[in-house]
């Protein structure tokens, strides 16, 4: 189990995240949603070790990893996909897939990973992971790396960003298949209803705090209320 205990993160004395407590069970699919700037990405970055929390702890199976480096967390089985994929001059898709597989790699594995994310291996394995690739292509390569690395807990920061509507069903199928395989727990930041349907639990974060946790039905009611409240407020203004 991955546990977040009383996580706080402050910048210039202002809370970005306040008193976050959350558990992600093995093989559970937890989806995080909420308004822009509410602290969702910060939270997953804290779990990966990209940002150090001001206070609180992160625990995996009873083992405190709060002071562990990014590399150590990766080795412990935490995988992270960036919302905006990083580009490299010189490193190819094959290179990244090979690294993600801890160098246990051959092109058969590479082809399978790329096929799963809807890319033709012949066309992409030798391509440099640079700005000549579109946002959608980079995002798929990012997902292929996450699939290659696997891990006990995979953190996805808006996996749908940059993926076109026509390909969205493929993306949904990837998550369906990952959920079905029960190999990893998943924490997914998303605003897409199709992914809401797959989630075991949905967490709403607003202004740096958890506002609600529950099933899709429970959350839907909450979201509806927020919309109504907002409408009322807008009308009154």
């Amino acid at each position: 189990m991955l546990e977040l205990k009383n996580i706080n993160y402050k910048v210039d004395n202002k809370y970005i995240l306040k008193d976050i407590n959350l558990e992600i069970k093995d093989h559970e699919f937890v989806l995080i949603t909420g308004p822009n700037g509410s602290g969702k990405s910060t939270l997953v970055k804290i779990i990966m070790g990209l940002i150090k929390p001001t206070s609180g702890s992160i625990v995996i199976n009873g083992y405190d990893i709060t002071d562990k480096s990014v590399y150590e967390r990766a080795k412990m089985g935490i995988t992270f996909t960036f919302q905006t994929p990083v580009v490299f001059k010189g490193l190819t898709v094959r290179d990244l897939l090979c690294i993600s597989r801890d160098y246990y790699y051959d092109d058969y594995i590479g082809r399978e990973l790329l096929r799963k994310v809807g890319l033709c291996a012949q066309e992409y394995l030798d391509r440099e992971v640079n700005n000549s690739l579109s946002g959608g292509e980079l995002k798929r390569i990012e997902l292929a790396c996450a699939l290659g690395k696997q891990g006990n807990y995979i953190l996805f920061d808006e996996p749908e960003a940059g993926i076109d509507l026509w390909s969205f069903e493929d993306l949904t199928n990837i998550f369906k298949s990952m959920k079905k395989s029960k190999k990893s727990g998943m924490l997914v930041i998303s605003h897409q209803e199709r992914l809401f349907n797959l989630a075991d639990r949905i967490v709403i974060i607003e202004n740096g705090t958890i506002k609600e946790i529950g099933s899709k039905n429970k959350i839907s009611k909450y979201l509806k209320n927020i919309k109504c409240e907002k409408c009322m407020r807008d009308c009154n203004e």
């Binding site: 990966m48 990209l50 480096s69 990014v70 590399y71 990766a74 080795k75 995988t79 992270f80 960036f82 990083v86 490299f88 001059k89 010189g90 490193l91 190819t92 290179d95 990244l96 690294i99 993600s100 801890d102 790396c145 690395k149």
Partner: protein, 305 residues
């Protein structure tokens, strides 16, 4: 040539030279092995040190290896090599220089190269520089290269200087006639107190000429690199210069790309970027399970690939 020589040469050739391949090996100022053919002849110069290589029109997809080796401590070698490639020939030339020097007296190799490429000929020139030994700042490799590209010809140059050369000055001047193409990829890595100056002057004289100059370099420790390039469009032509450098530690890198259009139909572009390895790139690879040092090594390996 002994086993040590072959080992050092392997660093610039990536393979051993077989007796029946077309080659000329120069060691400490003398030719120690040569094999040529009716189609590709290798002749020693009479007035100067060096060789003249003549490639006949009938040559297709053949390889010539002309490495230079310096193992005598404190040796200075100046060599003049001419590559004369006839019309329509297709050839790959693998050259380079390896210096082994353990003493404090400097060893130096200066190569003066002239390429005379005939009409519609296709040439690939691969050149690697490598140095090894216990003491730094005593291995120098300089090159002066003059290129004349005939109508419709093409020349692809790949130069690599990865390690062990303490000082280097590389000057290249090219003149392109109608419809000819020049593609240069330069890869440099400097460390400790290495100092490299690399300069190019490419004259796009003919109509529909094309030139593409790409330099990728990494400067570590206290090393210095200077990249100066000049692309001159004198006719309807296309030219591009790209200079990317990763700077580390206390190194210094200077890049001066210059483009001059003397014709309204010349299309010339340049881009230059110097910067350290981005934190995001390191973090990305760390999320995939590499330490910071391993991530840095992968990024450098990829960049110089």
């Amino acid at each position: 040539m002994n086993k040590d020589d072959n080992d050092i040469l392997f660093n610039i050739l990536n393979e051993e030279i077989s007796e029946d391949s077309i080659h000329n090996i120069r060691k400490n100022g003398e030719t120690v092995s040569r094999h040529d053919s009716d189609e590709i002849s290798i002749v020693s110069k009479k007035a100067k040190q060096g060789i003249e290589i003549y490639v006949k029109s009938s040559v297709k997809n053949q390889v010539v290896q002309v490495p230079v080796l310096l193992t005598t401590e404190g040796f200075t070698d100046v060599v003049y090599n001419d590559y004369n490639v006839s019309d329509n020939a297709e050839v790959t030339i693998v050259a380079g220089c390896a210096i082994h020097n353990d003493c404090e007296i400097t060893s130096m190799h200066s190569g003066v190269h002239a390429f005379n490429i005939g009409k519609n000929a296709k040439v690939k020139y691969v050149e690697k520089h490598y140095g090894c030994g216990q003491i730094d700042s005593n291995r120098i490799i300089n090159t002066d290269t003059i290129i004349n590209l005939g109508k419709g010809s093409s020349l692809v140059i790949e130069t690599v200087q990865i390690s062990g050369v303490d000082k280097s000055t590389r000057n290249t001047i090219a003149v392109l006639e109608d419809e000819s193409t020049l593609e240069i990829t330069e890869k440099l890595m400097t460390a400790s107190n290495d100092n490299v100056l690399s300069s190019y002057k490419i004259n796009l004289n003919g109509i529909n000429t094309k030139a593409n100059l790409i330099s990728r370099s990494i400067a570590k420790n206290n090393s210095c690199q200077e990249f100066v390039s000049e692309l001159i469009g004198n006719n309807k032509s296309f030219g591009h210069i790209e200079c990317d450098a990763i700077i580390m530690d206390n190194a210094k890198v200077s890049s001066t790309p210059k483009i001059i259009a003397n014709s309204v139909d010349a299309e010339l572009t340049h881009e230059a970027a110097i910067g350290k390895i981005s934190g995001e790139q390191l973090l990305k690879l760390e999320t995939l399970g590499l330490t910071k040092e391993e991530a840095e090594a992968e990024i450098i390996k990829g960049f110089m690939k």
